[in-house]
């Protein structure tokens, strides 16, 4: 059975902050990226595999594959650092049965309809609803970009989101 060390939502997936900081904060030896579009893109899979530090295995799974692998073999072996590109994918993965108790949101880039709540982390309406639901189901969600800086609990981020939304 694989152990889940850290679960992070980061639209950049494996990148500077992850490679230089977070990997060292955990004892993870396997990065698992769960993303349907990356799963179908062999070239980009190769790029992200190259992006990981030496000695760290990288696996890219679709949501269906990950859920099935968890149900059958608890995702194999090792200490996992699981990365998601967006809230919707983590939501689906949890709902379909992968037991994730903590979710770190590290980066969700801006865009139309998105409101920045904490540094480079932004939510849209769908994100805020899904995250709230996950938290109500006892999944701890927090916002944390890099280890040396402060983090924010989801409750506060949602308050900020709603107050900024009303201000328009």
């Amino acid at each position: 059975m694989a152990e889940i060390e850290l679960v992070r939502i980061d639209s950049r997936l494996i990148h500077g902050q992850v490679v230089t900081k977070w990997i060292k904060q955990t004892s993870a030896n396997r990065i698992v990226i769960i993303d349907d579009s990356l799963f179908a893109d062999d070239f980009m899979k190769e790029v992200y595999t190259m992006a990981a530090p030496p000695g760290i295995e990288v696996n890219v799974y679709s949501v269906d594959f990950a859920v099935d692998y968890w149900k059958k073999e608890k995702m194999g072996k090792g200490k996992l650092f699981i990365l998601f590109k967006n809230v919707e994918t983590v939501y689906r993965t949890i709902k379909e049965g992968v037991p994730i108790n903590d979710v770190q949101i590290g980066g969700l880039g801006g865009g139309p309809g998105r409101i920045s709540v904490f540094g480079p982390i932004s939510f849209d309406e769908e994100d805020s609803k899904m995250l709230k639901e996950l938290e109500q189901e006892k999944c701890h969600v927090y916002l944390h970009q890099v280890p040396d800086e402060s983090k924010m609990e989801l409750k506060k981020a949602l308050e900020r989101y709603h107050s900024l939304k009303t201000k328009g």
Binding site: R12, H15, G16, F43, V47, A51, G109, G119, P120
Partner: protein, 140 residues
């Protein structure tokens, strides 16, 4: 620092845009620099935004140009690699003053596998643990 010339192009991709400052500062050492430009990765950029900005630039760059990124495994590098699927570009990671100097010195010719290797070796050689030997028997 961007100007038209017959030099082969160098595009810097850095977190926050420190490559431009670096290029400006290097004119102190090697004089005027041409054909070097930069696209900064800003904290608010989504990877898609940044990819599009870089692709816009790379489209216009001649083949055998050079991209230098700051961190291997960082978004700057991942985006450059993603573009290498569709464009014929050379990529080095680990931007530093010496790497840029070495690259600028080779700008008169198209960048090749060989010249990239030379730049890489020169950059690695420049990284040393500097200390004066306590006693050097050769001086006695």
């Amino acid at each position: 620092m961007i100007s038209k010339s017959n030099k082969h192009e160098i595009l810097l991709l850095t977190h926050g845009g420190w490559g431009e400052t670096l290029a400006k500062t290097l004119t102190m050492i090697i004089g005027q620099i041409e054909g070097v430009s930069e696209i900064a990765l800003n904290p608010s950029d989504s990877p898609e935004d940044f990819f599009q900005k870089v692709e816009c630039k790379v489209k216009k760059m001649p083949t055998n140009s050079l991209i230098i990124t700051d961190i291997a495994g960082g978004t700057t590098s991942n985006v450059a690699l993603k573009l290498s699927q569709n464009y014929n570009i050379n990529i080095l990671s680990g931007l530093s003053s010496i790497m840029l100097i070495e690259a600028v010195m080779r700008q008169n010719r198209p960048f090749t596998e060989e010249s990239l290797n030379e730049i890489k070796e020169a950059t690695l050689m420049n990284c040393q643990h500097l200390k004066v030997p306590k006693s050097n028997p050769a001086n006695k």
